[in-house]
């Protein structure tokens, strides 16, 4: 199997899975389809000779994000059943808008002279790690601060225990962790 045919197979699988993500009527299914897309994206990273990123993708996304999403779905269920119905509305204008954007981007892609791939070896994780801790140290630290802030923010937002109906009380209390 050539690299090209693998690419087209993966690409087709990504597109199909993505279509399922945005069209599935069951929210849990949609989340699971997203997991498929993410795993396939990791494969795409491998094809693009970025194995380290593929590992990150699997670990963070497929491991973390999908789990988070499932928790989110379950926490926001109104009824006890497992599946959550998701309806879509105004599909035609949405589809037209998305197609218009795709057309525009495709035009741009076709009209741009793109170079061929240069020959390149996969970059080892050691080099990426070194780059993190030398050239991009400040960005790396800023990112860690951001993650900490996101964590604290999520805790603050989610800490509210009583499920009161009064928006005001939620607003008021959510201001005070």
């Amino acid at each position: 199997m050539t690299e090209s045919s693998i690419f087209f197979a993966v690409a087709a699988a990504i597109l199909v899975s993505a279509a399922k993500v945005v069209s599935s009527r069951d929210l849990v299914h949609a989340v699971l389809w997203l997991g498929v897309v993410l795993v396939l994206t990791a494969g795409m990273f491998l094809l693009l000779s970025a194995p380290f990123l593929a590992g990150i993708q699997l670990l963070l996304y497929t491991g973390g994000v999908i789990t988070l999403m499932l928790f989110g779905v379950m926490l926001t269920r109104r009824h006890r059943e497992i599946g959550v119905e998701v309806d879509s509305s105004r599909r035609l204008p949405g589809a037209l808008g998305a197609l218009a954007l795709f057309g525009a981007m495709a035009c741009a892609i076709f009209r741009t002279e793109l170079p061929a791939w240069p020959a390149s070896e996969p970059i080892p994780a050691v080099e990426i790690g070194r780059a993190f801790l030398t050239d991009h140290l400040i960005a790396f630290e800023a990112l860690s601060v951001l993650l900490l802030a996101a964590m604290i923010g999520a805790i603050v937002l989610g800490r509210q225990r009583d499920f009161g109906d009064e928006p005001e009380t939620v607003y008021r209390r959510s201001g005070r962790p």
């Binding site: 105004r90 808008g97 218009a100 954007l101 525009a104 035009c107 009209r111």
Partner: protein, 604 residues
Amino acid sequence: MTPIEYALIALFVPLAAAFIIAVVAPLRYAGMPAALLSVAAALVSLGASLALLVQQIAQPDRVIHEVVRWLPNGPAALAQVGVHLDGTSVSMSVVVTLVAACVQIFSLGYMADEPPAARGRYFGYHSFFIFTMLLLVIAPNMLQLFAGWELVGLTSYLLIGFYFQKPSAAKASVKAIWVTKFADIGLLLGLICLFAVTGGFEWTATLSKGWATAITLLMFLAVVGKSAQFPLHIWLPNAMEGPTPVSALLHAATMVAAGVYLVVRADPLFAQAPTTQLVMAWIGGFTALFAAVIATVQTDIKRVLAYSTCSQLGYMVCALGAGASMAGYFHLTTHAFFKALLFLAAGSMIHAVHSNEMSAMGGLGRRMKATSTVFIVGALALAGIPGFAGFFSKDLILEAVHEAGMFVPWLMLIAAAFLTAFYMGRAVFLSIFGPFSPTSEGAHESGFSMTGPLWLLAAGAVGIGYFGSDFAALAGGTYHFHLGMSGILGTTCALIGLLLSWLIYGSHRLSPQAFRFVAPIAWLARSGLVDRFFEFAYRRGALVLADAVGFFDRYVIDGVMNWIGWSTITSGRWLRRIQTGNVRDYVYAVVAGAVVIVFWGLSR
């Protein structure tokens, strides 16, 4: 001490006194201590000025010009402040401080009946006035002179409105500041032009003929306002609402003479503008005559003196117009003495009878011998009777105007000399001689604090005329007394005027009814035609203009502003509809924007 230190002492000791009186409220409320502090400051200032004068007489040509940078502008200064000491400024500062000291000592007695707090305020203003006037007098350039000019205007306003609880006094102070500020626009514009043309505020600048005429005419407008020349003289009679010593100091001797002093200072500028000088001669001559006519029909002694001041200032301005700045300045000095004397003596009489009306004063000569004597001395000096100071200076002016070939102004001055003697004789015969009135019957002489300054000023009113040549040396001119044709004619007219007043008001040989033919002139003069003209001009001119401007503002400028506001609100109301708060709509907007950007980028 150096001359500059003397000048600074003369300048700042009164300011310090004014500041202390203004800030230390208990002192001001106590009245008498504040008054004594103010008098002491005035005496210190007088002493410093006299020291300067002594030095100056020893070296008449000495000119000290010391400036510091003000408004720094890079290496050069935009303007400078400092002192300029020459014969003119030194002698003027002596006149100012001497008259001010006399007036303040006189005020100790005159204002004794006022509440203490009011007295404290009064003397504070007086100290401040000495500072402002000296600031003007020793100014090294036109800008500092302008600063002093405005400050004396302020002091004048404060002192005219001293009895501010009296509506007429409050109105008079507002009128004074209104009229003089209007005139000061001219000085300001003149200074701006001067700076634009020469880049400085020096009065020694050399200008092109057109600019010289324009700038000096603008400056002359301010002189007309400050020195109460026709047609802006209207504020001076009302300024008599202030206490009489104030009238003596500010509105007779010094402040109103600031306009004349300005022209004397800026003589190099005015000498370059013959047109302005011609205008000055005509306006001065006309004012001298016009104000003298009005003075003959006044019944209020202060008003007689006020119009007389207008008239005498007209003499000075006319002399300046004739190019004889020394003559004008000499008359300024003698006038300062005898007019301050007259006002203070009148104040003493008013103090005795509690009325300004001459009809209430009859026969005061038998009750107030000292005051009457000095009043007569002042009247003779003002009338230009030979031997008194006014004679010498007036003679000099008449000669100068005649020599300059300005026949009509000269004629008006001669006529004014006749009228001057007439109205002063009238005032003397009505108030000092004549039968007693109910109020003057029980009058008695004022205390020494009031008569002392009167004697001093009377000595000046007699003696200063004999120092003409020394004075001329100080002022940078020459003076040799000789009685020319003008002098003889003027003196004769004055004597005739005096005789006529004696015939009418002294011996009653002639009835005033015999002069009914002048009644229309008198009525015209008394009816305040000029006031009415300004009132009319204000109503029809300024108010109509204000209405037009107001209309433009209300409907055009406000209209545009309202339209902008209205359109903003309306468009906001419309644009609000696209802010649905719905995330979906925002996504559509982002998509549309992205599509547009992509195609715009492609089509370029």
